[in-house]
Symmetry: C2
Subunit: 380 residues, 2 copies
C-alpha cells in the first residue's frame, strides 16, 4: 500500500523510520512513496517535496497527515478523502475542529479516516474502544491524556518543586511548547476528550462545550495539601453517557494514592473505560514521542491495508454535565463567592466545597471572575 | 455463526447471557445453538444436553470450551478442531498442557484456536499482543495474572490481616477454591505465563520449566516489612525474550509503591508488555468473573466470525533465566544456606540477599529443602 506522508517532523519522521525498517510482514506491506516536507533544507531523499501536489496527486493509496496545525492540514486531508483515498491523522486539534465534516467526507467517498495517534499517543485506545464496542456499550471513560502536564505534576509531587520551575524544565526538555497554553490550560485534553466521545459514544460535541481547567495556577502549596491527604494531583479528562445525556469535562483531580492512575509516572498517559460486561479496562503507555506515536499511525495504516471498515452514525450532542457532582478544592482571590458551598477552609482563600453539582460551581466561578482561580476535584 | 458451548458454569453461563442478550450487531451474528451441561438438573432449555455428542455432532460452526479441567475438555476441543471447526477456550490449565498439540491440530485442519480468556480474564491481553506484534517484537511482559491472590494480598496490606484468615475469606466469597493450591502456589500464574510466552514470543515451554513461587507462606510480618520500605507485595509472572534465550518465572514481588502495578486493587489483574517502538503498554481489568471472562470468550468468537487468520510458527524452548538477577527477601528455617549471598539480616531467619542470579538462588533453595520457605523479589 502506497502512502503519501504529509509532514516529516517528530511523528512523520517516526512513521518513515518504522515503515522503512519493515520489522514485520504487516509493515513490509506498507511503503512511504511520497513525503511532504516543510522546506528545501528538509529534503534528504527522492521521495520528498515541498509541494503538496507532489504528494496528493501522486500514485498513492492512503494519506498519513502528521503536520499539526489546522491549515493546510485540514484541506489536505479533506482533499485526499474527496479523491477516495483513506487517511490517517495524528493531528488532534485539526480533527477535533473538523471531526464531523471529515467523517462525512470519508463516508461519502467510501474512504476511512483513522486517528489512533490523536489521543493517548501510542496507547491503543481507539482500537480497544472499537473492540470493546463489538460487544459492549461504553458507559464512561477517564484518564491522563496529556504527557506534558503529567510530567510537570509528577515532578512537582516527587521533588516538592513549584509550577513555573517545572514548566521551564519541561520546555527545556522539549516536552512543552514555548507557548504552553494548549497543554497547561487543558485544551489539549479537551480535544482528546472530544475525539474520545465520538469514538466511545458516537457523540459529536463542540470542543468549546467541554468545561476545561488546566494546571497553570497550581502551586506547590496545593500539591502539599493533596499529599498530606494521601492524594496525588493529575490532570484528568472524563466523560460519561447516560440517560441524562453526555457528561464531559477536564479538570485537575486530587486522586487517592490507592488509585492506579495516581501512579502513572513521568510523561506517560493512562486511560480507563467502563463498559457493560467488561467493567473497568485500563490502558497505560507513552502519550507522545516519535516512535510510540508513529506506532499508532502505522497501526492505523495496517488496519486500512487489511480492509478495516467503519460505518458509524454520529449524533450531535450538547454537554449536559447535570449528573456531575463532586467535592472541589478551590484557591481564589474571592472565596466569598463560594461561601454557601464551602465545607472547610484550608487557609485564607483556599477552601474545600461540600459535594456540589459541577454546573453550579462553574456558574460561581464565572461570576467571581477570578482569572487566576485554581480548582481541582477531590476524588471520592 | 452457530456455536456449540461446552460447559455452562460461571463462564459458560456468562457466554450464553452475553450472546442471548445480543447487545450489538457483532453479537447478534452469533448464536448458541447447543450447550453441554454437567447433569440433568442443569438442563433448563432445549439447547442443553448432558451428552457431548449432541453438541459436537450437531450442525455447529465453532466450539467454545468453558468446562475447565484437563479431560474431557482436551479431547472435546481436539475432536472439534479435527472436524474442522474453529474453537475458543477459556481453560488455561488444559491449554497450557496441550498447547502445541492443539495448535498443530488447528493448523492442520485449517481451523483457528483462540484463547483470550485464559490469561487476564476480561483484559484484552491476547488481542493487544496480536496487534502490537503487527509492528513490534515483544521484548518482555510482567503482570498480576491472578485475581484470587491479588485479593488476598490487597486485603492483607490494607487491613494488616494474616494469610490464613484472608484465604478463608476468599474461599467463603467464592474467589478461591476449596483446594487453593493452583492459585496460592503460583501454578495458575505459571499456566498464564506459559500461554503468554507463546502469544508474545512464539515460544512453547513446558509449564514445569517455569520456576514458580506462590504466597502460601507469606505472613503479615513480611507484608509489614514491605510496607515499612514503601512497597506492596504482588504475585508477579514475568518473561523476557532476548539473545540469551527465554527468561520466565513466577514470584511474589515487593513492588515500589510508585509502580502502578502496586496499586492494582482487589481481584483485578494488570499486565504490561514492553516492545520495540511502543515501549511499555499496560492493560488493567477484571481477571475473572462471569461477564468479563465471557466478554473475552465472545470477543474470540466475533474474531472467528469475522474470519481472523492465525498462521504462527512456534518454537520449543527451554527456560534459561540466565539473565535474571534480583535482590530477594527470604524467610526460612535454614538461613545459613544463604549466608554467602546475604546482604542484610532483618531478623532471625529473615534476610535480604545482595543482587544475585535467580538460578543460583533456586539452587540454594533446592539444597536447603525448607518446604515452608518464603521468597519475594525486592523490586529495584
Amino acid at each position: 500500500m502506497k502512502i503519501g506522508l504529509l509532514g516529516h517532523g517528530v511523528v512523520g519522521g517516526g512513521v518513515t523510520a518504522v515503515i522503512d525498517a519493515g520489522a514485520s510482514e504487516s509493515v513490509r506491506n506498507l511503503e512511504v512513496t511520497n513525503i511532504l516536507v516543510k522546506d528545501q533544507s528538509e529534503v534528504t531523499d527522492g521521495r520528498m517535496s515541498t509541494n503538496a501536489d507532489d504528494v496528493l496527486n501522486a500514485d498513492i493509496d492512503v494519506v498519513a497527515e502528521c503536520m499539526g496545525g489546522l491549515e493546510p492540514a485540514h484541506s489536505f486531508v479533506k482533499r485526499a478523502l474527496e479523491a477516495g483515498h483513506s487517511a490517517v491523522t495524528s493531528n488532534k486539534k485539526m480533527l477535533a475542529n473538523y471531526f464531523e465534516e471529515l467523517m462525512e467526507t470519508a463516508e461519502k467517498n467510501h474512504a476511512v479516516l483513522l486517528y489512533e495517534a490523536t489521543a493517548g499517543g501510542g496507547i491503543p485506545w481507539m482500537a480497544n474502544l472499537r473492540q470493546i464496542r463489538r460487544i459492549d456499550r461504553i458507559l464512561s471513560f477517564r484518564g491522563i491524556f496529556n504527557g506534558t502536564t503529567n510530567y510537570i505534576l509528577y515532578h512537582m509531587d516527587l521533588e516538592d518543586r513549584d509550577f513555573d520551575e517545572m514548566l521551564k524544565e519541561a520546555q527545556d526538555l522539549g516536552y512543552a511548547e514555548r507557548d504552553p497554553s494548549d497543554d497547561i490550560d487543558g485544551f489539549d485534553v479537551r480535544y482528546k476528550v472530544q475525539i474520545s466521545c465520538a469514538s466511545a459514544f458516537d457523540q459529536i460535541v463542540s470542543p468549546d462545550d467541554i468545561p476545561a481547567f488546566g494546571i497553570r495556577f497550581i502551586s506547590a502549596k496545593d500539591i502539599a495539601w493533596a499529599k498530606s491527604r494521601g492524594r496525588t494531583a493529575k490532570l484528568i479528562g472524563r466523560a460519561a453517557m447516560n440517560e441524562k445525556g453526555l457528561q464531559a469535562y477536564v479538570m485537575p483531580v486530587f486522586l487517592n494514592n490507592s488509585d492506579y492512575l495516581s501512579r502513572i509516572p513521568s510523561n506517560l498517559n493512562g486511560i480507563e473505560s467502563v463498559s457493560v460486561t467488561l467493567g473497568p479496562a485500563g490502558f497505560i503507555g507513552q502519550g507522545a514521542g516519535s516512535l510510540p506515536t508513529a506506532h499508532a499511525v502505522v497501526q492505523d495504516l495496517i488496519s486500512i491495508s487489511e480492509g478495516i471498515e467503519e460505518h458509524r452514525h454520529f449524533e450531535k450532542s450538547a454537554v449536559a454535565n447535570g449528573e456531575v457532582n463532586g467535592v472541589y478544592y478551590i484557591r481564589t482571590a474571592c472565596p466569598e463567592a463560594f461561601t454557601d458551598i464551602t465545607d472547610e477552609v484550608i487557609c485564607e482563600g483556599t477552601l474545600i466545597t461540600r459535594k456540589t453539582g459541577l454546573n453550579a460551581v462553574l456558574e460561581k466561578i464565572a461570576q467571581c471572575g477570578d482569572e487566576k482561580l485554581f480548582i481541582a476535584e477531590v476524588a471520592e
